[in-house]
Amino acid sequence: MMAGVRGGGHWGGGEVVRPKPSPARMRLADVMRVGAVGLRTRPLRAFLSALGIAIGIAAMVGVVGLSSSSGAELDRTLSALGTNLLTVSSGTTLMGEAAQMPQDAETMIERIGPVERASSVGKISEAKVYRSERIPEAQTGGISAYATSLDLPGTVGATVRSGTWLNAATERYPAAVLGAVTAQRLGVGAAGPDVQIIVGGARFTVVGILHPVALATDLDNGVLVGWPVAESRLGFDGHPTTLYTRSEEAKLESVRQVLAGTANPEAPNEVDVSRPSDALAAKQATSQAFANLLLGVGAVALLVGGVGVANTMVISVLERRAEIGLRRSLGATRGQIRSQFLSESLLLSAMGGSGGILLGMGVTMGYAFYSGWPSVVPAWATVGGLVATLLIGAVAGLYPAVRASRLSPTEALSTP
C-alpha cells in the first residue's frame, strides 16, 4: 500500500483526514446575474409585474410631488404677497342691514402702532358699470365701482398690467382703473385715452388695468376710481367699505384684536376682520386632505403590485423546478437557491420602483411646468418609494424563495 497522505486503514470504509468541502461564497455580481435569469428569459412577464409596482410608486410619488409643488407655489405666492395683510370690512348691523364704517376709519387705524400702512376702498353701490351707453341697464355684469385711496396697490400688492395707476391728478377726474376680471368682462384689452366706459351714467377713461390681486379678489371684479371724483360725480358718501392694513408680522395678532374696535369704535361688532392669506392656506389644506386620499389610493396600487410580484415569483418557482434541480446538482446550496429567487424578486420590484419614481417625477414636472409652479419632488418621497419597493420585493419573494430552496433536488430534476 502506498504511503498516502490519508494514512492507512482506509479499507474498512474508513476516514480520510481532509478538510470538509465548504461552499464558495457567491460574488454580489453573480448573485445579481443569477437573479436576473428569470427576468431575461421572460421579459414580458417581468415587465408586466414590474409595471404593477411602477404604477403604485408613480401614483404615490406623483401625488406627493404635486402637493409639494403646489405647496411651494403657495409659499412663493405668500412670500411675494406677504401674510401680514389684514382686511376690515363693514359687515351687517344687528338688524341685518348693511353697516357703515366711519369716514375717518382709515386715519384711526393708521394710529395703531404696529400698523405699517392702511388703505381703504368704498363701494359705490349706486354707480353701475357698463361698456357703453347702448348696454341695457340690467346687464351690470356683476361689476362694482369702488372709490379708492391712492396707496391701495402698495398695500394689497396689486400691480398694473396695462396703463398706469391713479395719481393725485387723475383721482379728481373721471379716470378708472379696471380689475382683471372686469377688463375681461367689458372686453377692454388695454388702457388708453380713447378707451371709455360708463360708470354711474358718466363716461370714465380707462387709465389702467390690474393684474389679478390674490389677496383682495374683490378688486378683480371692480372698477376703481379716485375718492374725490367718486364724491363729486357719483354721489359717494365717503364711508369706506373695506380697509386693507399691513402690520408688523410679529404683532399681527394683537393688531387683529384691536382692529374692529378702532375701525368702528361705536359698533365694533359691525365690522369683519379677516386675513386673506389664511383663506389661501385653508384652500391649500383642503387640497392636502385630498392628496392624502390619493396617497392612500397609490398605496393600495402598490400593494396590488406587490401581490403581482409575489404571484409571478410563485409561478416562476413552479416553472423552473428543473432549473432549480440542475443548479442544486451543479453545487448550489439551499441558501444560494433562496438568494437567487429573493434577488429576482428584489430586482423585479426595484425595476418597477425606479420606473415608477421616474414616472411620478415626470408627471410632477410636467404638471408643474404646465401650471407654472416650481416643481418639487421631496427626497423623502423618492427614497421612501425605493425603500417601500425593496420591502415589498423582499416580502413578495420570501415565500417563493424559501419554497424553491426546500425543493428536493431529485424531485426537481425529475420534472420534465
Binding site: R6, H10, T41, A322, G325, L330, G331, R334, S408, T410
Partner: protein, 241 residues
C-alpha cells in the same frame, strides 16, 4: 489513490409507502474507472445515481464519495462536494434556453466561486475539449441533439471534477449522435475522469469496461473488470467490495 472514488456499504433507500428502491447495496468504484449501471426501469439505477450524486440521502448504510462520508456532511458541504467533485450529465441535457453554449457551460461553474472571466475561459476550454470550439456562440435551439449533449458534458467537466455521473446520456439521441457521445465519454475517461453511466441499454453497457447489473433494487451482477489505465492505479486494490 488508496481509497475508492465511490464506496457504498449496505445502502438502502426506502421511499415513503415502503417501496425499497435500493436494498442493501454495496459497490466500490475506483478512481479512473468507466462503469455502467445497467438495468430495466424500476431496477433502482436512478436512485443509485441520486445517492451517489449526493442529491438524495440513503435510508441506511454509508456512502463515501472521494473519501468523504456523505452522512457527516451538511447540505452546504454536500453542495460544495457536488460543485467541485461531481459532474452531472442528464438525459434531457437541462441547458438554459436563449443562452449561448459558452455561457451555459460558464454558468455551470458559478457555484465554484471562480470569477466570471475564469469561468468563461474554462468553459471555452471545455467546449474545445468536447469538439464544440466552433459552436460557442450558438444557443441550444441552434444545436443538434448530439451537440446539446456535448455542451452538457462540457458543463459537467468544466470544473475538472474527478467524477462524472451520466444518466442515460444517449437516451434522447439517435444512434450516430449516441455513438459520438459515448466516444467522448471514453476520451474523458482516458484522461483520468471516473465515469459512471446509468443506462437501460445493454448494448451501450457492453461497450464499457465494467457493467453493474441491477434488478429490483439489488446488484445482480458485476463484471468487476479491472479499471483501464496505468499500472500506478492498478495496485490500488482488488476491486469489488
Amino acid at each position: 489513490m488508496t481509497y475508492p472514488m465511490i464506496e457504498l456499504t449496505d445502502v438502502t433507500r426506502t421511499y415513503p409507502g415502503g417501496v425499497a428502491a435500493l436494498q442493501s447495496v454495496s459497490l466500490r468504484i475506483r478512481h479512473g474507472e468507466l462503469a455502467a449501471i445497467v438495468g430495466p426501469s424500476g431496477s433502482g439505477k436512478s436512485t443509485m445515481l441520486n445517492v451517489i450524486g449526493t442529491l438524495d440521502r440513503p435510508t441506511s448504510g454509508t456512502i463515501h464519495i472521494d473519501g468523504y462520508d456523505v452522512s457527516t456532511l451538511s447540505d452546504g458541504q454536500l453542495s460544495a462536494l457536488r460543485a467541485t467533485t461531481i459532474g452531472f450529465v442528464f438525459q434531457s441535457f437541462h441547458l438554459a434556453a436563449k443562452v449561448s453554449a459558452l455561457d451555459n457551460v460558464a454558468d455551470g461553474l458559478i457555484y465554484t466561486g471562480l470569477r466570471r472571466a475564469e469561468r468563461r475561459r474554462r468553459a471555452a476550454a471545455a467546449l474545445d475539449r468536447v469538439g464544440l470550439g466552433h459552436r460557442m456562440d450558438h444557443e441550444p435551439h441552434e444545436l443538434s441533439g448530439g451537440e446539446r449533449q456535448r455542451v452538457a458534458i462540457a458543463r459537467a467537466v468544466g470544473g475538472d471534477p474527478p467524477l462524472v455521473l451520466a444518466d442515460e446520456p444517449t437516451g434522447a439521441l439517435d444512434s450516430v449522435s449516441g455513438t459520438g457521445v459515448m466516444e467522448l465519454l471514453h476520451e474523458l475517461n482516458a484522461s483520468g475522469t471516473t465515469i459512471l453511466i446509468i443506462t437501460h441499454d445493454r448494448e451501450i453497457a457492453a461497450g464499457l469496461p465494467r457493467q453493474v447489473r441491477m434488478r429490483d433494487g439489488r446488484i445482480v451482477e458485476d463484471s468487476a473488470a479491472e479499471p483501464r489505465g496505468d499500472a500506478w492505479r492498478r495496485h490500488a486494490g482488488s476491486g469489488v467490495a
